[in-house]
């Protein structure tokens, strides 16, 4: 943290990359860090919670089972059935469920004191997850439509012939290159911004109270502390919303792949 005597120095993005816990594999980059630990933790937490909640499968659910069923039902109906349609949605429930809760839990880590780091504020995890979905989207498209899938995805119907060369290039870029990037960067940017705000507020309060002191230092510090509370809740909303958006886009891409010929 910035502790020079001259003045306040805001935290830099480098500081969102925490020092590794184990210097394992350090020669290829970084070692095993907090972020990776939290990814593994999220997998364990999600698996354990839902398996524990549904273990009884009682007809009249307990409170835990009810909460778990609400989460499952939300993914099943809002993300699955409403977007993919009654015919196809069943086989995609596991993917949508895993995507939504994986992103949600990893985002919420940013709101838990002590952990306080949304996994997807780093580019690597966001690229990885969006990449998996991108590959799934393409594989599904080719399996459903064969090689025609490329044509369906790049050649828009009903446009003048002379516009086609331009549009084909644009469509290809838009669907195959830009789409996975926006899919991942949207999530990463929002989580990173939220994380930086938390860091900034935290280090600012620390600086004002511990370094500067005095009436204005304590006053401003208290003000920032109070102001960070609504920001915290805003962040919370953002975390849930981004998880929803990420899973929603996943569902929309899959739907586009299944019914590419309908557009």
């Amino acid at each position: 943290m910035a502790t020079n005597e001259g003045g306040f120095q805001p935290p830099t993005i480098s500081e969102t990359h925490l020092p590794e816990i184990f210097p394992w594999m350090a020669e290829w980059g970084t070692g095993f860090g907090k972020n990776m630990l939290m990814v593994i933790l999220s997998v364990i937490v999600i698996s354990w919670f839902f398996m524990w909640a549904i273990r009884k499968q009682s007809l009249v659910p307990s409170r835990t089972q009810f909460i778990a069923e609400s989460g499952y039902g939300f993914v099943r109906h809002t993300l699955g059935r409403d977007i993919l349609g009654e015919k196809h949605f069943r086989q995609w429930i596991p993917l949508l469920f895993a995507v939504f809760f994986f992103v949600l839990v990893n985002n919420l880590f940013g709101a838990i004191p002590g952990l306080q780091l949304p996994t997807f504020s780093h580019a690597g995890p966001a690229y990885a997850l969006a990449g998996i979905i991108w590959i799934a989207w393409i594989v599904l498209g080719f399996r459903t439509h064969g090689p025609k899938f490329i044509k369906l995805m790049t050649v828009p119907s009903g446009v003048p012939k002379w516009l086609l060369p331009l549009l084909v290039v644009l469509e290809f870029l838009s669907n195959f290159i830009i789409r996975p990037l926006t899919h991942s960067l949207r999530l990463m940017a929002v989580m990173l911004a939220g994380h930086i705000i938390v860091m900034l507020a935290g280090s600012g309060v620390e600086f004002l109270v511990a370094q500067q002191g005095g009436l204005d230092g304590y006053g401003l510090g208290a003000l920032i502390l109070v102001g960070s509370i609504p920001l915290y809740f805003l962040e919370l909303i953002m975390m849930v919303l981004q998880a929803f958006v990420f899973a929603l886009l996943t569902a929309i891409y899959i739907q586009g792949s299944i019914e590419a010929d309908a557009h």
Binding site: T12, M36, F101, F102, A123, I132
Partner: protein, 189 residues
């Protein structure tokens, strides 16, 4: 100050757009493990719970539907039975009334016949008694009158034929007298 740090961030070793490949790898592996767990255990369990609940609810609804239909059938049967019973009761009442009326009529008729029979019998008896009384009176009055007359006029009237004629004339007169008297009495009554 802030712009300086941003430049530093953009130029420095921590460009936020550059991924850490090991983090990416951990996420890929973690996500695939999660996907497997969800596909293998979590989703089937929830689907099963969901399905059982739907079946339970639909089964309950069907049962309720059946029970309702049964109750309605029963009610219809009860109402039919009740109607039948009412009709039976009213028929029986009607019958009883008719029977009662018939019995009364029979009794009336029987009583009337009996009364007529009794009356007739009484009249016959009266007539017979009257006839016998008249007969005995006729004989007695004749002998009494003869006796009386023979005592009054002595043996002069020993001749049977003559006396018989006298007696007959006397009785005829008496009869005429009597019937005149009866006519008078009937007229008076």
């Amino acid at each position: 100050m802030i712009s300086a740090s941003l430049i530093q961030a953009a130029e420095g070793d921590a460009n936020p757009l550059l991924p850490n490949p090991w983090e990416a790898l951990v996420v890929i592996l973690g996500f695939l493990v999660l996907l497997y767990v969800v596909k293998k255990w979590i989703a089937p369990a929830f689907e099963k719970a969901y399905q059982t609940r739907i079946e339970a609810i639909e089964g309950g609804l069907n049962e309720a539907e059946n029970a309702k239909a049964e109750a309605e059938a029963m009610k219809a049967e009860y109402e039919k039975n009740l109607g039948d019973a009412r009709a039976e009761a009213s028929r029986m009442r009607e019958e009883a009334r008719a029977e009662g009326a018939q019995i009364v009529a029979e009794h009336k008729e029987k009583a009337a016949v009996e009364a007529a029979r009794i009356t007739e019998q009484a009249q016959q008896q009266i007539a017979a008694e009257r006839a016998s009384a008249a007969h005995s009176l006729k004989a007695e009055v004749g002998s009494l009158a003869t006796q009386l007359a023979s005592r009054i006029v002595g043996e002069a009237l020993e001749d049977d034929t003559r006396s018989q004629r006298v007696v007959d004339r006397f009785l005829a007169d008496l009869d005429a007298d009597q019937s005149a008297q009866a006519g008078q009495t009937g007229a008076a009554q």
